[in-house]
């Protein structure tokens, strides 16, 4: 979905590599911190016998502060001269991957933080894989704790080469790889004189160069019905235009029934629009009283969309209970919901190494990804994720609990 002025970033990386500290530093340097918050952090740090710990900004839970570990995702806002940011801090522990996914799925770009002396760790690479799987293509790599490497080029270069190599396997080319000391602020909002050998941008400059997503107005119309309201004798179909532009008078086809009608009115409270672009949540009134329900998809009459009951996807599974092939689970994609089975797991992959654990596997275990073939009980409208995101991503539920998610490839 389009997002113009809040640029959403997720901070990812291994536990203790300094994500929350980097975030605190960014807020501090962009003067996004109220005085009172600084005092509050100082007091809470002191109570635990520590110097001012920037991580306490997002680590607000008592347990987080006492154990010095982020447990759940949080979001904070900061403003640079160029634009506003919402930064999503995600936990780095393997047990907390679910919270990391929650945070990361809302982001348009990612910052991957790596401790230079320690180098790449399990969560560094697992997070990078999940970022790739969530369809986030823009990434900045921060090599942190340069103070512990005496601000030298050599240790930086060694880790940089390794991470670039790993990211290449995910088809991700980072926008920048930056040597940083989050604790002191080196290369965060301005270039540090301690690392003159580094010729690239500081973090803030690199952030400002990231691009916003295209809203998708030029793509074909897809309008999934979210709900139907009867108001003052009118039947209003509510929903979000996920791609294309919907116009008054336009001839449409309703899927899966293939029935046809015209758009007689577009409803937005207090307005009488003639068209609605991608991202808009509207109501529509059809020229014919067609039978319609949540999950039906409205498309342009001439667009010839196909219904599908078998498609390929890439799935990440986060439940302790493994996903077995031919087990019935619920698939939700936009407002559609159907029963389905995973017919085939062509490859079972460890996302922290990208190693193929098994071909033609019988199941997926916790924190594994799979290249799969999905067969739904009734046909639905899906698109490749790269083409129409909202119809190219899905969640898998068992007993109404989301246990895995994926994108259509």
């Amino acid at each position: 979905m389009m997002e113009k002025c809040y640029f959403k970033l997720v901070l990812a990386g291994h536990i203790d590599h300094g994500k929350s500290t980097l975030l605190g530093r960014l807020l501090f340097e962009t003067k996004s911190l109220p005085k009172q918050k600084i005092t509050e952090i100082k007091t809470a740090s002191k109570a635990l016998g520590k110097d001012m710990d920037f991580a306490f900004l997002t680590d607000q839970l008592k347990e987080e502060r006492e154990n010095q570990m982020t447990l759940d995702t949080a979001q904070v806002f900061f403003r640079s001269r160029a634009r506003n940011y919402a930064i999503i801090d995600a936990p780095g522990h393997v047990e907390l991957i679910k919270n990391m996914i929650t945070g990361a799925s809302q982001a348009q770009a990612a910052i991957l933080v790596i401790d230079v002396p320690e180098g790449m760790k399990e969560q560094t690479t697992r997070h990078a894989s999940i970022i790739g799987l969530l369809g986030i293509k823009q990434l900045i790599v921060i090599l942190n704790k340069m103070d512990l490497a005496d601000y030298k080029k050599q240790p930086f270069k060694e880790v940089k080469d390794k991470i670039l190599d790993f990211l290449a396997g995910l088809n991700i080319k980072p926008a920048a790889v930056i040597p940083v000391c989050a604790r002191s602020g080196a290369n965060v909002s301005r270039k540090s004189s301690l690392m003159r050998w580094y010729k690239g941008p500081c973090l803030l400059k690199a952030l400002n160069s990231l691009r916003l997503k295209n809203p998708g107005n030029k793509k074909p119309l897809r309008f999934p019905a979210q709900d139907i309201y009867e108001i003052n004798g009118e039947r209003i179909i509510a929903g979000k235009v996920v791609s294309g532009v919907l116009k008054c008078g336009q001839k449409i086809t309703l899927l899966p029934s293939l029935l046809e009608a015209k758009i007689s009115a577009i409803k937005i409270f207090g307005e009488s629009p003639k068209k609605a672009e991608a991202g808009k949540n509207i109501g529509i009134i059809l020229s014919e009283p067609l039978p319609i329900k949540r999950g039906d998809i409205i498309v342009d009459k001439s667009s010839g969309v196909r219904l599908n009951d078998r498609f390929k996807g890439e799935v990440f599974w986060w439940s302790k209970e493994p996903l077995r092939i031919n087990e019935r689970v619920d698939l939700r994609c936009a407002s559609q919901q159907v029963r389905c089975v995973i017919e085939k797991i062509k490859k079972r992959i460890d996302p922290s190494t990208l190693e193929v654990i098994e071909k033609n596997a019988a199941g997926l275990k916790i924190n594994e990804t799979g290249m799969v073939v999905i067969k739904t009980e009734t046909p639905i409208v899906v698109e490749k994720f790269d083409f129409i995101e909202d119809l190219g991503r899905f969640v898998l539920e068992r007993n109404f609990n989301p246990e895995g998610a994926g994108i259509i490839t």
Binding site: M1, M2, E3, K4, C5, Y6, K31, L33, P34, K35, Q36, K37, E40, T43, A44, A47, T58, Q60, L61, K62, E63, L71, D72, T73, A74, Q75, V76, F77, A86, K98, N99, I101, T102, S105, Q106, Q226, D227, Y229, I231, N232, I236, A238, K267, I268, F269, G270, G279, K280, N281, G283, R294, W318, R332, Q337, R393, V395, F400, N401, P402, A405
Partner: protein, 272 residues
């Protein structure tokens, strides 16, 4: 920031909120909205009216502690009528009778007069989803919230075991003993709310505007809110004040400060 860009981004915030409100109602017809008459829940109410084309198909609840400002009650009565709301006023009469009062401990008072009152009202009306106007930037604990946040029958927020919430595919079903807190304004900031109030001309309680050098940035019970120094007596001035302030929004709210983790304790027991 250019003006048209501002409008664009407020539209985006609003659209996401409408989507979430409609999603909640689509999944749980038995929904209600919590309205405290503060700027945030009034904004949520405003957007909910837009989401349902002027006809909110569920009740609006005011949790009345009995200690609110006079101006708040006047505002409630005026707009409940003007907007044709199905208003439920809910309180914890037993606790009030037992003499619960802010001076006898903020934690106990907030818990009894707000959380317990809410619990009673959910029990009697069997609501499955409650719309609340909390925002991530208000308080660090609220930053951890989900858009769809399940609560068990004891009302507890299990912040250690929150469900995965991926893209806009929010969790849709519950065990029978649970209800969902729905937070459609989670992604808004204080400044966004005021810019939106300005754009939409949403009415707000006059306590927000400066009088004799003081104004309230956050309103609630009379005993537990203190005003901040301010000359902002119009929305335009409030916006410009917020762009330059280094005082936190809830700095005048006593319950946040009794101890560093009071909000965590209150919220884990079901506080808003």
């Amino acid at each position: 920031m250019r003006e048209e860009e501002t409008l664009d981004y407020l539209n985006e915030l609003e659209n996401k909120t409408i989507y979430i409100i409609r999603e909640a109602y689509s999944r749980f017809r038995n929904t209600a909205l919590l309205w405290s008459m503060g700027k945030d829940s009034t904004t949520l109410l405003w957007i909910t009216r837009k989401a349902f084309f002027g006809h909110i198909p569920f009740p609006v609840i005011h949790i009345d502690t009995g200690f609110k400002f006079r101006e708040i009650y006047a505002f409630r009565d005026r707009y409940a009528k003007e907007w044709g709301l199905d208003l439920i006023i809910s309180n914890n009469a037993a606790a009030l009778q037992a003499g619960v009062h802010p001076e006898k401990g903020k934690f106990r008072c907030c818990h009894a007069l707000k959380t317990e009152a809410l619990k009673n009202s959910i029990a009697s009306y069997k609501f499955k989803a409650l719309l609340l106007a909390i925002r991530r930037d208000e308080h660090g604990i609220r930053a951890k919230e989900r858009y769809f946040s399940p609560r068990d029958n004891g009302f507890k927020w299990n912040y250690q075991k929150q469900p995965v919430e991926i893209w806009d595919l929010y969790q849709s079903k519950l065990n029978s003993e649970e209800h969902f807190r729905i937070h459609p304004l989670l992604h808004w900031t204080e400044l966004d709310i005021w810019k939106y109030i300005q754009r939409e001309k949403i009415p707000v309680v006059p306590l927000y505007f400066a009088k004799n050098g003081l104004r309230y940035r956050s309103i609630g019970c009379q005993d537990c809110c203190s005003p901040v120094n301010s000359r902002a007596d119009t929305i335009r001035k409030i916006i410009s004040e917020l762009k330059n302030t280094d005082v936190a929004e809830r700095s005048g709210r006593a319950q946040d400060k009794e101890d560093a983790y009071t909000m965590q304790k209150l919220r884990s027991l079901g506080y808003m």
